[in-house]
């Protein structure tokens, strides 16, 4: 029966929290209104762990982030919940200059085990602050690991890896996937950071995607299956990034489309594109194509469905590189 068990992505994250908090008393969570549970991933956690381990803070992201970092320096293992990942920008100095770079600057003598979490993603019609996907920001700054699951299975496994990691990890998920259901084993397992996953095998073109866009890519692959054989590679983790798996895929398909819901300019897709040029140029039969959010602020209202990468835009790019 257990192999059939399905959880939502939020439930999978919650299950990872529960298991890791039972396993390690140093693990605690802090965030704004996480006791009530703004989102289901923290719902009722304080019933088991108490309000001293599921901590509501004032509306003070900067103080909250610094508190997590200080607590980590003192030997705890905080899970810092920004609610929306865009709210982490309040704590830009703490997240990007301090947490990520402190270890190196201070002689690599003291670990900083912190998991930062937040939901993000375009398509909710509420504008930039609730949509911004900060993995591009994160990979630009050395010292932070960053991942984003596309499935509940990966969510539980990646979260366990993140909590057990001795480095700051920014763990993101797409708001539109929170209620997405999928198989999640009951037993303990870890999905290591830095290992991509082939979500669908193919031979004509590789689509590299993550989060919600993995599902958009899979739709395209299914739609085109009689014309073009599409391989869908889920990056899962942006830093460390599994370049080797991507290059192996391109070796087979010789074509690459990168789908990235973040802004196009200077983002993850641009970075991967450059890495493929440097390390896999000879494998390619066509130029790399990016499908990203255009370089405009993420709008609210009815507009954002036109700015986010859609199956239509991905299909167009796939057809173009396969021409």
């Amino acid at each position: 029966m257990s192999s059939q068990r399905e959880l939502t992505l939020c439930e999978a994250i919650r299950e990872a929290y529960v298991e890791e908090m039972r396993r390690d008393e140093r693990v605690f969570m802090l965030g704004i209104s996480i006791q009530a549970g703004t989102f289901p991933h923290t719902k009722n956690l304080c019933e088991e762990f108490g309000t001293h381990r599921v901590v509501d803070t004032p509306l003070a992201e900067t103080g909250m982030a610094g508190c997590a970092m200080g607590a980590a320096q003192e030997g705890l293992r905080p899970i810092l919940d920004f609610m929306y990942a865009g709210f982490s920008y309040f704590a830009g100095s703490e997240v990007f200059l301090q947490m990520g770079q402190y270890h190196f600057l201070h002689g690599s003598q003291h670990p900083l085990p912190i998991v930062m979490v937040g939901t993000c993603g375009v398509g909710r019609r509420v504008g930039n602050e609730h949509a911004t996907l900060p993995y591009g920001m994160a990979i630009h700054h050395p010292g932070i690991k960053t991942c984003m699951p596309a499935t509940p299975y990966d969510a539980k496994g990646l979260m366990k890896a993140a909590i057990r990691d001795d480095n700051p990890v920014l763990f993101l998920w797409h708001t539109n996937l929170m209620m997405h259901k999928g198989y999640v084993p009951e037993e303990d397992y870890v999905v290591p950071l830095g290992v991509a996953d082939i979500k669908r095998e193919g031979s004509d073109v590789t689509i590299l995607a993550s989060g919600l866009q993995v599902h958009s890519a899979l739709k395209v692959a299914e739609k085109l299956k009689d014309e073009i054989s599409v391989e869908v590679v889920d990056a899962r983790s942006f830093e460390p990034f599994d370049r080797e798996s991507l290059l192996r895929s391109i070796e087979k398909t010789t074509r690459l489309v990168i789908v990235d819901e973040d802004f196009e300019r200077g983002g993850f897709a641009a970075e991967v594109s450059a890495q493929v040029m440097e390390h896999g140029y000879d494998l390619l039969d066509a130029p790399v194509r990016r499908v990203c959010h255009p370089n405009i602020p993420v709008p609210g209202g009815y507009i954002d469905v036109y700015t986010m990468p859609t199956s239509e835009r991905i299909e167009e790019a796939v057809r173009e590189v396969c021409r």
């Binding site: 803070t57 610094g66 970092m69 200080g70 607590a71």
Partner: protein, 328 residues
Amino acid sequence: MSLTNDQKIVLFRNLARAMALDRMMMRVIRAGKMVGFYHEGGIALAPGIAAGAFLQKEDPMWPHYRAHGLAHMLSKGIDIKYYVAEHMGREAGCCKGRSSFHMSFPEDHVFGFSGNIGANFPLSVGYGFAAKYKQSGQVVMNCSGDGSYGEGRCHEALLMSANWKLPAVFWCEANGMAQHSNVKDLFPGPNVSSLAAGFGIPSMVVDGQDLFACAEAALQALAHVRQGNGPIFVECKTYRVQEHSVGGVNYEGPNQRDPELMAKWKETLNPLALAAARLLAEKVLTQEDIDQIKADAEREADEVEAFCEASPKALPSVAEMQAAVYTA
């Protein structure tokens, strides 16, 4: 809370050491042997000695940046020569020569530094939170200047510390200057410690030139915190007679600060001279004792400089550094 004679002698010796090291740092930077910058302590080092004096090894402390925290750290019992070596970019540096001015003594619960003023406040909340979480009995010494209180994160930290009754001392070394601005032009009142009242945090104002008054305030504050009463705010009124950072002009707004007034402060408000006079009057030390302490301090400073110069310059390869970004 009154100090024993032995405590007074330790405090005095450590102030002499800190001021000798501060002068040595000035010699070193002027000789071009320091890789980064330095913010002279001058006559403002008595509060730092007091802040570190009564902490246990496991009590987290963030030093104030005047004299780059040398006073605080040596008073807490840290061997500061590795920190001075860091300033000279040496392999013996406490951060392996990667930071220029950051300290890193995790075993002494002095975890690091920041170039961003006020960065320590939320971290201190975390130290206090962890102390409560672990029920460890640790207390936190969060040192800053008065200029820090322009930063929003400082207010968040006061709020969170008060709300959670954290065992933290907000130790303010108020020299009245924030870089090249006078704090009276930046803050609407005579004492930044007046902020504490809004959070229900008790506070006191102390003469920062009086080493023993600062020490008594530290003892009182630590007792308050150790008894589980939540945070306390101590404002030590001190002076900055020199420019903000070595090599600059001592501005206040668009104008240069009055050199005659600076010289007068330096002459009349030297905390070591004031403490020496007290110890002589109370017959705790003789003039010979005082001279010996000062001579020992100068010799130590010279030895620290020599130790640093003997250490090779830290020049790791990019590959070595890339391997050091993450904890394995």
